[in-house]
Symmetry: C2
Subunit: 343 residues, 2 copies
DNA sequence: GTGAAAGCGCTAACAT
DNA sequence: ATGTTAGCGCTTTCAC
C-alpha cells in the first residue's frame, strides 16, 4: 500500500492525504478523520526512504558503539542506556541506527553517517579528555549530545551526566556515620572521567571529617573481578585493615565479595560494603538484595534524557548547549546498616 | 556533495559515476579508479534515502528489542549479541535499526517496519513456544532469522542456537568425574526453551551413570540473585546436602556464591561450582577467574552467525530455512578441579 | 479546503 | 564503455 493507492481508494489527491496524515492545519477535520482511519485500516505507513528523500530529514538518530580492539567486551552500560533512548525515539517516531565499529574506525563512521545523511543527529558515548569526535561532529554540522563529560568542565556542548562526585560523597558519609574510619575505595582507572569524580567525592567526604585519605586504601584500576579480589585480599592483610569498602563497579564487586568470604568475614556483620551498580542496574530486579547498599543512578533514565535533549535540539534547530546533571538514586540495603566501626 | 556535483567535477554522467562506484562490470578500470578516488577525496557517499528509494532495498536489518513491562530490565544477552551482529553488518555495508518497544507493542513494531519498508529483514530474539511473530513475519513477507528456538523441534524457519543440552551434559559429567554424586542444578524458568534443554542435559548425564535426579536438588525459577541465595541456603540445610552446584546464570551465581560463603564453605575447596556465563560473557575479561568453571558459548559469535545467515538468505532470495547449532565453549577454572566428593 | 505538478538523489532500462 | 531518461514514493510549492 502506498500513497497513490490509498488516495485513489479515498477519491482524494495524494496531496490531501499526505497533508491529512501529517497534521497540516488546512485539511478539514472530517477529511482527516476519514483519511487516518483508512490509513490504519489498510496498514499504511509512509515509505521511510521516499519520505526521507522528500523532506531531507531522516527521522533517525545514530548511536556509534565503539568496540575495543583489545578487550572483547561490550560496556554493559550501553544496553540500558539504549533501552532508555529507544523509548524516547519510539514515542517521537524516530528510528535508532546503531553502528558497531572498531574503536579505530570511529571517526570514519561519523563521516559516513553524515555523508549518507542517514541520521539527524548522534549520541556520543564515553567521552574522553579532549575528545576529537566533538570537533569532528561540529565540522560535519551533525547535532549531537554527549553521555558523560569530557574532563574539561566548561565545554560548550550538550551533555547529560550523573553526579558521580556527590554520589560517592554521600556513600562515604553514610559509612562515616556508621562509625567507620578506615574506608577503602575500589575505583576504576582515573583516565575515565567518572572515576576521577568519584574519587573526588570520596576524598571530600573524608576531608570534611578531617580524616586523611590513605593511599593503601585507594585502588584505581581496571574494573574486573580479578582486580577486586586481589585488592581486597591485599588490604585485609594490612596491619590496619579497612572496615568498609566502597566499590565502583558491580563486576569488581564480585571479586570483592569473594575475597571477603575467603577471609572468613561476612558482609553486613564484620564489614560494610557499598557497591555502585550503575553498570548493572538490571540486578535491581532480584527481589531484595539485603547485603549491600547500592548508589544507583539509572542509566536508563540517562538514556531517555539524552535522547530527548537531542530531539529538542534538532527540532528547535538551535545549537545552544544544554546540560543535565542527574542525582544518583541511593538505596541502602538492609544489612549494611547494623555494621559498626570495629577497632 | 551529491552525485550530480561529483559527476560534474569528473566530466562524466551520473550514470557512469554511479556504475563505477557500485562496481558494475561495464565501466573501464581506469574510469573506476578515477571516480573512486574523487569520491573518497570529496568524501562522497550515496544518500541513503535516495538509494533506498531507487533500489527498493534498504540495506538495513531490524532488531526489535522488547522491554518487559513488568521487569525493568534489559536482557544483557542483547548487548553482546548486537555487537556481533553489528560487526557483520558493518562489513557488508548494512545498517542496524534498533526498535525498543514494550513487549505488548511488539507485533505492531514489525508491521510498521514492514509497511515503511525500512528494513530488508529482522532478527527475532528470545523465541517463545508457538511464537506468533514467526507467522506474522511470514505474512508480511519479511525475511528473518531466530536467535534461539521455539520449543517445537521441527519448525521450518532459520535459527541459530547454542547447544544448551550438550553444554550442561558435559558440565555435569565433569562434576561426576570429580566424584560428585549429589549435584544441584539452579536453573531458569522452564517456560524458557533453553532452560528446559539445560535440564535435559543435566538429567541425561545423571541417568548415564544411573544416578537418580533428586527434585530437591533442582531449582527452576527466575534468574535472580535472591533466588540463587535462597535456593542454596535451603539445599545446604538438607540432611544430604549437595557437594556441587551447576548454575544456569551469572546473576543467580552471585547469590549462590554469597550463600556458600555465608555457610562458611569455600568454593574450590569444600564445594564445586560450575557457572554458565552466557549472559555475561564480558566477565571473561577479568584476568584469570580461578574459582569457577564456565561453560560459555560466546553470544557475540552467535550474533555474527545470525546476521550472516540473514544476509545470505536475503542475498539469495531463497526462503530455504537454515539452522546452526553452536557448541558451547567450555573453560575449566583452576580451582574447580581439586574438589572431591565429600561424603 | 483541495489538487496538479515539480523535484528530492539515486538507479536501471534503454539507447548509442 | 558511456550517456539519456524515466521513475522510485513522498512532500511542497503554487494555483484554484
Amino acid at each position: 500500500m502506498n500513497l497513490k493507492e490509498l488516495s485513489h481508494i479515498l477519491g482524494l489527491s495524494q496531496t490531501t492525504v499526505s497533508r491529512a496524515l501529517n497534521n497540516y492545519p488546512e485539511v478539514s477535520e472530517a477529511t482527516r478523520k476519514r483519511v487516518k482511519e483508512a490509513a490504519s485500516h489498510h496498514n499504511y505507513s509512509a515509505n521511510t526512504w521516499a519520505k526521507g528523500l522528500a523532506t531531507g530529514r531522516s527521522m533517525a538518530i545514530g548511536h556509534v558503539i565503539p568496540i575495543s580492539t583489545q578487550h572483547e567486551i561490550v560496556n554493559p552500560v550501553f544496553a540500558d542506556f539504549i533501552a532508555g533512548a529507544g523509548e524516547v525515539y519510539a514515542r517521537n517516531d524516530h528510528d535508532m541506527l546503531l553502528s558497531v565499529v572498531a574503536d579505530i574506525d570511529e571517526e570514519s563512521a561519523y563521516r559516513s553517517l553524515a555523508a549518507k545523511a542517514s541520521v539527524d543527529g548522534v549520541i556520543i558515548h564515553g567521552p574522553r579528555a579532549n575528545d576529537t569526535r566533538i570537533k569532528l561532529l561540529r565540522e560535519l554540522n551533525l547535532p549531537f549530545v554527549v553521555h558523560g563529560r569530557a574532563s574539561d568542565e566548561h565545554s560548550d556542548y550538550s551533555w547529560v551526566d550523573v553526579n558521580n562526585r556527590r554520589s560517592f560523597q554521600r556513600a562515604t558519609e553514610y559509612l562515616l556515620d556508621l562509625g567507620h574510619i578506615r574506608i577503602a575505595l575500589i575505583n576504576g582507572l582515573e583516565s575515565m572521567d567518572f572515576a576521577r569524580r568519584r574519587k573526588d567525592g570520596y576524598l571530600a567526604a573524608l576531608a570534611d571529617r578531617n580524616i586523611a585519605g590513605h593511599s593503601e586504601l585507594l585502588v584505581s584500576d581496571e574494573m574486573t573481578e580479578d582486580i577486586g579480589y586481589r585488592s581486597v585480599q591485599k588490604m585485609l592483610r594490612l596491619t590496619q585493615p579497612p572496615t568498609a569498602f566502597l566499590v565502583s563497579s558491580m563486576i569488581t564487586a564480585i571479586g570483592v565479595r569473594r575475597a571477603i568470604g575467603d577471609a572468613g568475614l561476612k558482609m553486613g556483620r564484620d564489614i560494610s560494603v557499598i557497591i555502585h551498580d550503575d553498570e548493572l542496574s538490571y540486578l535491581r530486579n532480584g527481589g531484595d538484595i539485603p547485603i549491600f547498599t547500592a548508589a544507583r543512578s539509572s542509566v536508563r533514565e540517562a538514556g531517555r534524557i539524552c535522547a530527548q535533549m537531542l530531539l529538542d535540539n534538532i527540532a528547535q534547530n538551535d545549537q545552544e548547549p544544554r546540560h543535565r546533571l542527574l542525582e544518583a538514586e541511593i538505596t541502602i540495603g538492609e544489612s549494611t546498616g547494623p555494621v559498626r566501626h570495629r577497632s
